[in-house]
């Protein structure tokens, strides 16, 4: 995937030199995410969907809601699952074939952010305990890559889930049967927002773009819920963060997450 790109040394030097002056290569402030455009219901036939543009990164998420067998150990809970995929058209270095480690990480980080915030109230997704539950599947495809897929995918999945409409099912003669004409909102409790920060030299930047992504030494993705609690965290890259930097990242993720949550709310309210 895109990690194979080789960034030329001149650009790497330029990025570092600008950061020393407190500037970024695209003119943003260090803690400023790129412009976010959220288009919900981008796929009319899906139960829920959203297309998100984060600068020049573009992702599409579709939500499928269908009856499923529960996991044997949690028969009183529905299923939520999130997957991600990179299309070869998203970047010159992306090839078809089984997903590589970075793509698997992407899906897991997005899934974890939503799962651990308990956004989808899975306890309400039970048709009959231990027999049949409702499964919610959020599938994300990356259409255009320019760094920071974690956040773009997370916003797309969240926006799609917030605006999803779920059909209703009941048990009739031990068979799951759809109730015609009854649709309800997916039961959600909070709005998780992930904020990814990259460490380049000794500087921490929010929402790194493609060039910054290729030149960063370490990254951390922190997901916060509506109450400002940190509910998931993923650190990547070969360098480390000091304790102070980690605290700073946590505070930044809460502050920036708050602004982004308003955009997700606006997208949700635009539909209702």
């Amino acid at each position: 995937m895109a990690s194979k790109t080789v960034l030329d040394e001149l650009k790497r030097t330029q990025i570092l030199e600008l950061l020393e002056q407190g500037k970024r290569i695209d003119g943003r402030a260090l803690d400023e995410p790129r412009e976010i455009v959220i288009e919900v219901n981008a796929i009319p036939k899906a139960n829920g969907s959203a297309k998100v543009r984060l600068g020049d990164t573009e992702v599409l998420c579709g939500v499928k809601i269908q009856p499923d067998k529960p996991f044997p150990d949690v028969g009183d809970k529905g299923i939520f699952m999130c997957t991600a995929e990179l299309l070869p058209l998203s970047h010159p270095t992306v090839e078809t074939g089984p997903p590589q480690a970075p793509v698997i990480e992407l899906a897991r980080v997005v899934d974890r952010g939503i799962r651990e915030s308990h956004m989808v109230d899975v306890s309400q997704l039970v048709i009959e305990k231990d027999k049949s539950v409702v499964g919610v599947f959020a599938d994300i495809v990356v259409i255009d890559y320019d760094g920071n897929l974690f956040d773009a995918c997370s916003y797309a999945a969240t926006a799609a889930l917030l605006t999803s409409k779920s059909p209703k099912w009941t048990m009739v003669d031990d068979k799951v049967t759809i109730v015609d004409g009854e649709e309800s909102k997916l039961p959600t409790t909070t709005i998780p927002v992930s904020v990814t920060m990259g460490k380049i030299g000794n500087h921490i930047v929010v929402d790194p773009n493609g060039d910054e992504w290729d030149s960063m030494d370490a990254r951390v993705t922190i997901t916060t819920d509506s109450d400002g609690n940190i509910c998931a965290l993923q650190k990547g890259g070969s360098d480390g963060f000091t304790l102070d930097e980690m605290v700073q990242c946590g505070e930044t993720s809460i502050r920036v997450g708050k602004q982004i949550r308003e955009k997700l709310k606006a997208a949700q309210e635009g539909v209702q």
Partner: protein, 226 residues
Amino acid sequence: MVDKRKYVIPGDVITTGPFRPEQNVMLVGEKIIATAVGISEIYDDSVKVIPLTGKYIPKIDDLVIAKVNSHTSLSWELDINSCYVGFLPAQDVFGRDFSAHADELATKLKTGDLVAARIANFDRTRDPLVTISDRDLGKIDSGILIAISPSKVPRLIGKRGSMIQMIEQATNAAVTIGQNGWVVVSCDTPEGLLKAKIAIEMVNEKAHVANLTDQVKEMLDKKSES
């Protein structure tokens, strides 16, 4: 003599008759058919299409800007913004007494370095052979890389270098243009660098516009006033 220039798309019949098909055309029976979007040109005995877009196809003696992608113990692999990978043998840098045991390639050029290089040999059956052993060639240490469409390189250079000379004079920048569409600009002042960058991007976007030289000149003059 050049005559009958026209815009063509793939499948267009450019002409019929005893012409030699050159770049981006094919001969089907008597007809000469375009295989790319571009401008067709009919010469005395040959026909070709100058593409409006597309990847860089190496030509012998082209100056290109290349990026080191990786190396083996015997050669470097260069990204030359093409569908072909540039091949730079270690002997070219270390000389004829290069020894794969004693010499470490990464000491001279490492992944991510930019070099000004020349296409030494290329015949479409093998990856292009690249050389950096010449005056003005070699590793690029400063400046910024700007990528433009390879098909717009002639426009950026202009007639007898008019466009690029104008940009260089107005901004005091040094511009190295690779035929592969990669351009390295270096300048002592950040303002000049930015201005040169804007001018080059303007040429890339408006390559089809008539009087582009005047427009670029106007932009350069305006910026220097403010």
